[in-house]
């Protein structure tokens, strides 16, 4: 005989069962489970957002203190003042425009070349072995060597920055595209062959989408490398552009000038990454996110 698990009440229902039934009704659930927990006023100080803002504030305070204590360190207020003057002189827009023009041309070439070479290396093993060492050279040879070389070859021109942007950023995209192309699921390719799906549709519906995440990730690092390369060439040998302007203030021994242009470089790359690349990556991941939402 089963062991009784509770005293039987008058209606023959044991107390344990009655308690279980009671929990099924919504009005019996304690209010503390239905409402968000009460939080003290200082709760936001312990949040992740507070940690980020605290770090930024602390950084600014330390920076201002260091700048006003040591002569060789620029202060945040001094840097802002410098930037305001530089804006007023019209230097910011002019030089940023020129650098962006070079970066856009260079990175467009990187996009075309990187994807084409990456796919070719995955598709034909002869191409792969022919190019492996060259890609290795592209990845390992420091950008400043290229920068000095192009200055010696072409002097002050647009060709130099664009060339270095291409040679130092393309390998990054090639490597990622190659990985993406070899990661195309073989089982889906076999399925497509079994259904006699045409080559063009296989490419557009299967091969390219399966590579898109890799290409987006590769282009993200290519943008960083390419932008850095443009600035480097402008620094070493050019009479226009963000890098040139930073060098100009370096020659003038202006710490605020160096720091101010450093900030401009940072803002541009961050803006591009957050506004453009983030969206591109999210777009190509949307099918995954859809799946995750469902399973959550």
């Amino acid at each position: 005989m089963a062991r009784p698990r509770g005293r039987e009440g008058a209606d023959g229902v044991s107390e344990v069962q009655a308690a279980v039934r009671g929990h099924g009704a919504t009005n019996d659930i304690p209010a503390s489970l239905l409402a968000p927990p009460a939080r003290p006023w200082w709760w936001w100080l312990t949040s992740d957002r507070a940690a980020r803002y605290t770090a930024r504030l602390a950084f600014l305070v330390v920076w201002q203190w260091a700048g006003s204590t040591f002569q060789d360190i620029p202060t945040p207020l001094g840097t802002l003042e410098f930037l305001r003057e530089e804006f007023a002189r019209g230097e910011v827009f002019r030089n940023v425009g020129i650098s962006l023009f070079r970066a856009v041309i260079g990175l467009s070439l990187v996009l075309v070349l990187g994807i084409a070479i990456g796919i070719a290396m995955a598709r034909w093993w002869r191409v792969r072995f022919f190019l492996t060492d060259l890609i290795l050279v592209g990845i390992t040879l420091p950008a400043f060597i290229w920068a000095l070389l192009v200055v010696m070859w072409w002097g002050f021109s647009n060709i130099g920055p664009i060339t270095v942007c291409v040679v130092s950023a393309t390998p990054q995209l090639v490597v990622n595209t190659f990985q993406g192309a070899t990661a195309t699921p073989g089982k889906l390719l076999a399925m497509s062959d079994a259904y006699r799906v045409g080559t063009r549709r296989q490419f557009r519906w299967l091969v390219i989408p399966s590579m898109m995440e890799y290409i987006a990730a590769g282009f993200r690092s290519a943008v960083l490398a390419g932008w850095g390369a443009v600035l480097l060439v402008e620094w070493f040998g050019n009479d226009k552009g963000v890098g040139f302007r930073a060098h100009y203030w370096y020659d003038a021994h202006s710490f605020e000038g160096m720091m101010g242009w450093g900030l401009v470089m940072m803002v541009i790359i961050l803006a591009f990454d957050r506004i453009v690349m983030d969206r591109v990556v999210r777009h190509f991941r949307s099918w995954r996110i859809g799946g995750q939402q469902w399973s959550r």
């Binding site: 889906l188 399925m191 079994a194 259904y195 519906w205 399966s210 099918w287 469902w294």
Partner: protein
């Protein structure tokens, strides 16, 4: 409906390294299947069943022998393939996955056709979802709908229910019988599950682990069949006995 003719089909996977032996996946497979019939290749894992299906579908080619598939009309026979795993494009919606394999007609016509066959497996409402949002059983049904949507002369099925839980698999077997009775397809089914073979097939080809067909049986029971039918259990026992008999000399040796 299709006519499938296999004559002395052999498949050898050559050694990839020095000192390795070639692998004989199929030693000698010959049979014919024709008309509205459900033929099942049943045998232990690694006996070459899936390799045979891949060769019929054209993904792979035989090392020797001939393999011919004739459709209802002149030209290439239409062959649908349901794999062990659903093999859907994860970044495309369910409907796009249907449209992917269809090549006749305008986009609208292909979408309408895709929807019609999704309705056939009761998944019309999932057309705009991504495969990742569906359960394993639902994904496999999309795979079946996709195979049926090309109105195949020959439908190949490679252990399509082996990855599913027992209840889902049982329901899908019932559904598959209904779909087959409604269509004019010839089905070539592969499984290592003897009960599944008896339940679904009008003909069972038993394969040994050596890669040969050693028995060709007709299952003469009315459709639709149920797993709980006594006759099904009797046939299942008989086939299992034949497998034991075939393996006995090897065990004794």
């Amino acid at each position: 409906m299709a006519r499938l003719v296999a004559r002395d089909v052999k498949k050898v996977f050559p050694p990839t390294r020095q000192g390795q032996d070639p692998v004989f996946a199929l030693r000698d497979v010959s049979f014919q299947a024709e008309g509205h019939t459900f033929v099942t290749l049943v045998g232990p894992s690694g006996c070459g069943k899936s390799t045979f299906l891949n060769m019929v579908s054209g993904i792979d080619t035989p090392s020797a022998g001939t393999l011919e598939v004739f459709g209802r009309t002149e030209g290439d026979a239409k062959i649908g393939y349901v794999f062990q795993d659903p093999r859907l494009l994860p970044w495309k919606t369910v409907l796009d996955n249907m449209v992917y394999v269809l090549d006749e007609g305008s986009t609208d016509e292909r979408e309408a056709r895709g929807r019609r066959f999704l309705d056939l497996v009761n998944l019309g409402s999932t057309a705009d979802m991504y495969p990742g949002q569906l359960s394993g059983g639902m994904q496999q049904r999309v795979g079946i709908a996709r195979a049926l949507s090309i109105e195949p002369d020959l439908l190949l099925m490679d252990e399509p229910f082996s990855h599913l839980d027992a209840i889902t698999a049982r329901d899908l077997r019932v559904e598959l019988q209904r779909l087959w009775l409604d269509t004019a397809s010839t089905i070539l089914f592969v499984t290592h599950d003897v009960l599944e073979a008896v339940l679904l097939s009008s003909r069972v080809l038993m394969m040994s682990s050596r890669g040969v067909i050693f028995r060709d049986l007709t299952i003469d029971l009315p459709f639709p069949r149920r797993q709980t039918d006594k006759e099904v259990a009797i046939h299942q026992a008989e086939i299992l006995e034949l497998f034991e008999e075939m393996e006995r000399p090897k065990v004794d040796a």
